[in-house]
């Protein structure tokens, strides 16, 4: 039984490691994210072509894979080729500035839900720590 539990935990970590690559943007609306990302690429002078699942960056010979969940206010960015991680970091650095320029356009779904989850977890932690 113990071996099965350890194997399950290892598999969960491997799946999480494979899934969570690149950068995650939390509390963003679909419109603000798209506008910010395209403006960032324009500012960096990177030519792009919109394609299914991402932006084709012909100069780099790579695809900036984009996943947006507008209904919850999150997005994920990653380069198809891991070796181009440096280019992704340049894009994200500019994107952060773009997103910070216009406050009040954030989606509040994640901040509110994370707040509730954080408070509940804190209550559970205190409950366990005090051995109630």
């Amino acid at each position: 039984m113990t071996v099965a539990q350890i194997a399950l935990f290892v598999i969960l970590i491997v799946v999480c490691w494979r899934t969570m690559q690149g950068y995650v943007v939390l509390g963003v609306t679909e419109g603000a994210f798209k506008q910010g990302l395209l403006a960032s690429l324009d500012e960096l002078g990177v030519a792009y072509k919109e394609s299914l699942g991402g932006l084709a960056l012909d100069e780099l010979g790579d695809v900036l894979q984009v996943s947006v969940q507008g209904w919850v206010g999150s997005a994920q960015l990653k380069m198809k080729t891991p070796a181009n991680r440096g280019d992704l970091e340049r894009v994200v650095a500019v994107l952060k500035q773009r997103l910070a320029e216009v406050p009040g356009r954030a989606s509040l779904f994640i901040p509110v839900m994370y707040g509730v989850m954080g408070l509940l977890l804190m209550a559970i932690g205190v409950y366990i720590a005090l051995d109630l």
């Binding site: 113990t2 539990q5 350890i6 935990f9 969960l12 970590i13 999480c16 490691w17 969570m20 690559q21 690149g22 950068y23 995650v24 943007v25 939390l26 509390g27 963003v28 603000a32 994210f33 206010g73 994920q76 990653k78 994200v92 994107l95 952060k96 997103l99 910070a100 406050p103 009040g104 356009r105 954030a106 989606s107 509040l108 994640i110 901040p111 509110v112 994370y114 707040g115 989850m117 954080g118 408070l119 977890l121 804190m122 559970i124 932690g125 366990i128 720590a129 051995d131």
Partner: protein
């Protein structure tokens, strides 16, 4: 077999860590009304710490 204190600590550690992370994102988002961009690997490490800590505690039962 772990003592109750160690067992509780192994459970409280990841819970506290996740609680602080959730509250940080929440308060920052609500106060600044700005999105936050973070490396996705941060979530993985948070998950690894939580899983490792809880698994040691649960397997010791």
């Amino acid at each position: 077999m772990l003592s109750d204190a160690v067992f509780n600590a192994l459970l409280v550690l990841p819970i506290g860590l996740m609680s602080v992370a959730f509250l940080f994102v929440s308060i920052r988002g609500l106060v600044t009304r700005r999105p936050i961009a973070v490396a996705a690997r941060l979530f993985v490490w948070l998950f690894v710490v939580a899983v490792a800590s809880m698994s040691v505690a649960l397997i010791s039962l």
